[in-house]
């Protein structure tokens, strides 16, 4: 068998310089640049991202992302409805992890109302379970699609099998597989159904096997490593300057996770580690996501074990809808129900920002309230939007074929980016 020959893939910055130098020295050879439209409907743009690429041969010299194809005006819509009515719209932000969006939004409104510390322990644990299930689900798809983009189709099928189980869990928990709308201001829409904890425990055991399989297929796979290592290197200071968050930031070596830095819910009572990369290339981002899923399973197991009994909603008729039998038999609850449905929760005037560690990064809500049941302004700080803004500096210098690796490793969702 012939010895494997090492093909040196120089770093991208050097390659850009080389191209520029060649252009300066030999202007005649330097050919005409080609503009290539990638997207909005391209399999590796994972939705409707459009990138206008300027190419010199096969090397990208300029990249201009064009977003907004999925803009639905969520922020405008939010100003015209009560806080509770907006919960279904949060499903449609990062539609690969609707549960995590529901939780982040509910926590933001609860922070505005000053009731985030009153959430019953059971509610907090259930919400953490939701967030971590969403994280596993989103990362499974992210890694599966990433691997598929660079040629490993099998991984996608494997991870999708596991996602199907998460959807089943979602369905028995919330009644919907995709658009969960699970949280309410001050609680969740329903308690865990009987047997759900056991089902979830079983899933934890099964999904870990899948992680091992995925790692066997990818982590030391020569093709995968060649297509991701030293590709799309995002240095630490550039990542911070561009406001990158989530696994992409941690891949660049910044140890920042909102669950650790500013723990919300019961994250400070749970043991987990935050994986951090060293180089900041596509391969590091893949490794970080892989490890994050394992840590999520660790969190899930602790939560399922510790899950306390008790109510799942704040026992206060003025925030959460009272139970139906009380509404039909008691005057006070009937009034609460009527007020909550017609006017919404009574939030005080003020402004807050709340950011939660979502699968894609920091999902933040800035709420400016003039009091009453509707926000005066609700700004969504979407992690995918901010993460994509780095493309103009990340893509140039790479080969055309590296674009799919880089896009796959950034793992964005256009529903959230365009809002």
């Amino acid at each position: 068998m012939a010895a494997v020959q090492e093909i040196h893939v120089g770093d991208s910055a050097a390659r850009v310089q080389q191209v520029a130098q060649a252009a300066d020295e030999l202007p005649d050879i330097h050919g005409e640049k080609m503009v290539l439209n990638m997207g909005p409907s391209h399999p590796s743009t994972h939705g409707v991202l459009r990138i206008v690429l300027e190419l010199d041969g096969e090397i990208i010299t300029k990249a201009t992302p064009d977003v907004g194809y999925l803009h639905r005006g969520d922020e405008k819509i939010a100003e015209n409805m009560t806080y509770t009515q907006f919960i279904p719209y949060t499903d449609r932000l990062d539609y690969l992890a609707p549960l995590a969006n529901n939780v982040a939004y509910a926590l933001a409104v609860e922070k505005l109302m000053g009731i985030d510390q009153q959430l019953p322990p059971r509610c907090q644990y259930i919400r953490v379970i939701c967030c971590e299930l969403a994280r596993i689900s989103a990362h499974l798809l992210g890694i599966g699609a990433f691997a598929m983009d660079v040629g490993a189709l099998t991984v996608f099928l494997h991870t999708f099998t596991q996602r199907e189980k998460i959807y089943d869990l979602c369905e028995s928990l919330t009644g919907a597989r995709f658009t969960t709308t699970y949280t309410r201001i001050g609680g969740v829409s329903r308690d865990l159904p009987p047997g759900w904890v056991e089902q979830c425990c079983k899933f934890c055991d099964e999904v870990v096997v899948n992680f091992d399989e995925t790692e066997k297929l990818l982590t030391r796979n020569r093709i995968f490593v060649d297509r991701t290592k030293d590709i799309g290197v995002l240095p630490r200071d550039v990542a911070i300057d561009y406001g990158i968050t989530g696994p992409n930031l941690r891949g660049s070596g910044v140890d920042y996770d909102l669950r650790k830095a500013h723990p919300y819910l019961v994250y400070n009572q749970l043991e987990f580690d935050v994986p951090v990369g060293s180089v900041g290339d596509c391969y590091d981002r893949y490794l970080v996501r892989m490890e994050e899923m394992r840590q999520s399973v660790r969190i899930l197991r602790q939560c399922l074990k510790k899950l306390p009994d008790g109510p799942v909603n704040i026992p206060d008729g003025k925030t959460v809808l009272p139970s139906k039998d009380k509404v039909l038999s008691s005057m006070e609850e009937l009034i609460h129900q009527f007020i909550l449905v017609t006017q919404g929760v009574n939030a005080p005037p003020g402004e807050i920002y709340f950011g939660a560690e979502n699968p894609k990064g920091e999902l933040g809500f800035y709420i400016h309230s003039k009091g009453g049941g509707t926000p005066n302004r609700l700004k969504i700080r979407a992690p995918s939007f901010v993460n994509l803004s780095v493309l103009p500096v990340l893509l140039p210098g790479h080969m055309m074929s590296d674009v799919v690796s880089i896009l796959g490793s950034i793992d964005f969702v256009m529903g959230e980016c365009d809002r």
Partner: protein, 220 residues
């Protein structure tokens, strides 16, 4: 260092421009009186106080008040793990503020979004184009005087749009808007009870048609 200490240090530097730090729900907000200095304040906050991460820039439309717009900068320091909010007002006549893209690169897209949605321009921005709406779109959708259903717009060869068929509900709740009786199509109105079904239906249709502005129905 706590956020309050950092806000006070910021205030020591720009004493005449910054308001007393306000605290709400554990967050510190400082208001800047002159929007033209926002880039200087941000640069100082980044260099001297370590606010290396610009989380977000938001904009608020205080319709009917003067100054009309408020810009909200959420800044964060990775070293101190602190978050401070900076706010400044921009009047409708000026509708302009200096860019902070020189301080944080991430401000680029945030400022483009504010320009796109609210119509506030950023002086010195390297590439101030619309980002979510298309080039040439004539309105600023997040302004309070822009209706939820949208406005008609017709840009030759680019795009067209018509108002969405919302008709005020049923899933829209606005304070001071139509009450539930007016929104509910199945409600019985006493004056109409004497009419027979066909007459009632005609009446409803008349009312509905009266609401439709013929100028709003534009075909591409």
């Amino acid at each position: 260092m706590t956020p309050l200490e950092q806000a006070n240090k910021l205030r020591a530097q720009f004493s005449d421009l910054l308001s007393e730090p306000a605290e709400f729900r554990g967050e510190v907000t400082v208001r800047l009186s002159d929007a033209n200095r926002i880039a200087d304040v941000c640069a100082f906050a980044k260099q001297a106080l370590g606010f290396d991460y610009l989380v977000d820039i938001s904009s608020v439309d205080n319709y009917g008040e003067d100054p009309r717009f408020t810009l909200v900068y959420e800044v964060y320091s990775y070293a101190h793990r602190t978050h401070v909010r900076l706010k400044c007002d921009v009047s409708e006549e000026i509708s302009e503020a200096p860019t902070v893209t020189g301080v944080w690169k991430t401000a680029d897209w945030h400022e483009r979004e504010i320009y796109d949605m609210m119509g506030v321009r950023f002086r010195g921005h390297p590439d101030l184009r619309r980002i979510l709406m298309w080039d040439g779109y004539p309105h600023f959708p997040l302004r309070k005087d822009f209706p939820l259903a949208g406005k008609p717009s017709d840009v030759p060869d680019v795009a067209f749009s018509r108002p969405a068929p919302l008709e005020g509900g049923p899933f829209v709740t606005v304070p001071g808007g139509k009450d539930t009786i007016a929104r509910e199509p199945r409600v019985r109105i006493p004056q109409e009870d004497s009419l027979d079904t066909n007459a009632r239906l005609e009446r409803r249709l008349d009312v509905k048609e009266a609401h439709i502005d013929p100028n709003h129905i534009q075909r591409p």
